[in-house]
Amino acid sequence: MRRSHRDESPDRLYVITSGRSDGADEALDAVTLVVAESGPTPGMQSEHAAILRMCRGPMAVVEVAAHLGLPLAVTRILLTDLLDGGRITARHPRPAPSPAHPLASPDVLEKVLVALHNL
């Protein structure tokens, strides 16, 4: 997690995802919360292991990406591997407002307002 891949070459990113550029779970929003269901195992790809260590509690996809120092797109692919293997679970944002219904429910807004006032 301390290592940053930020400056690494596209080749390195290619290796991390085994050459995949798509196939990520489309439901993985930037703020989907992911939680590890098990710890890392020996021989596991280091990025997968790092995710499992940092997600002992819930963490948003975007935060996982920042801590890994990897782009969101690459992070989504890695998280999809772990989801498929049952090693993490995802708590998706609900009910996602759509262009037709972009507005949040009043009780959610009330909660946000209370928290902001208390900041």
Binding site: G57, M59, P93, R94, L109, K111, A115
Partner: protein, 203 residues
């Protein structure tokens, strides 16, 4: 260009979310380069703003695509974000993102489902906000406009509203993005605006 907050973060904010958190919300803070997006996020965030990047590959049909190699281009754009834990079950993420036209197709995905947006403007470069405002209006995303006051003080809010051709319904307020209370006030104005829109919406 602000790069520091006026007050340091208090104590040692918890880095982990409560284990019971199951709902994440998002608010976008958009604006031109150097207008103070990250400063505003930092002022209210419980964590030091983090940075990552979004990439998107799309067909290279753009008129500026001169290389003529294959049909695909990848665009990468970095953005900052922070968060506020609302309660035991909810967390709010704040995304600071450049609002210029060339980045917008990336935000369509990143911001989908956002509660709303804050458009941060700098009167020295109002042009940077036109596209963001147009786009948010077209999407029906609720937003407020906040003038990050760098002390130039030469323009009234009425003048800014006119220059932006802003709908009278859209709240426009002044703020100091470095100040926690001021940044908080902007977010509260946004959420209250959303509440008003809901109350007005036909059921």
């Amino acid at each position: 260009m602000h790069s520091t907050t006026s007050e340091p973060p208090t104590a040692d904010p918890p880095r982990s979310l409560p284990p019971t958190v199951d709902q994440a919300l998002k608010i976008a803070v958009v604006g031109g380069f150097g207008v103070g997006k990250t400063t505003l996020v930092r002022s209210v965030s419980e964590i030091r703003p983090l940075n990552t990047e979004e990439t998107m590959t799309r067909a290279g049909t753009g008129i500026d695509d001169l290389d003529g190699v294959e049909g695909k281009r990848t665009t990468t754009v970095a953005f900052d974000f922070g968060r506020i834990t609302l309660d035991a079950t909810s967390v709010l993420y704040l995304f600071g993102a450049p609002g210029q036209q060339r980045f917008w197709f990336l935000w369509d995905r990143l911001f989908s489902g956002a509660l709303g947006a804050v458009v941060l403007v700098d009167t020295r470069r109002l042009d940077d906000s036109f596209f963001a405002i147009d786009r948010l209006e077209a999407q029906g995303t609720p937003f407020v406009v906040a003038h990050n006051d760098f002390g130039e003080g030469a323009h009234t809010l009425e003048e800014i509203r006119a220059a932006l051709d802003l709908d009278p319904q859209v709240p426009l307020l002044r703020c100091d993005a470095r100040d926690r209370g001021s940044a908080k006030h902007v977010l509260i104005a946004l959420v209250e605006h959303i509440r008003t829109l809901i109350a007005q919406a036909p059921r």
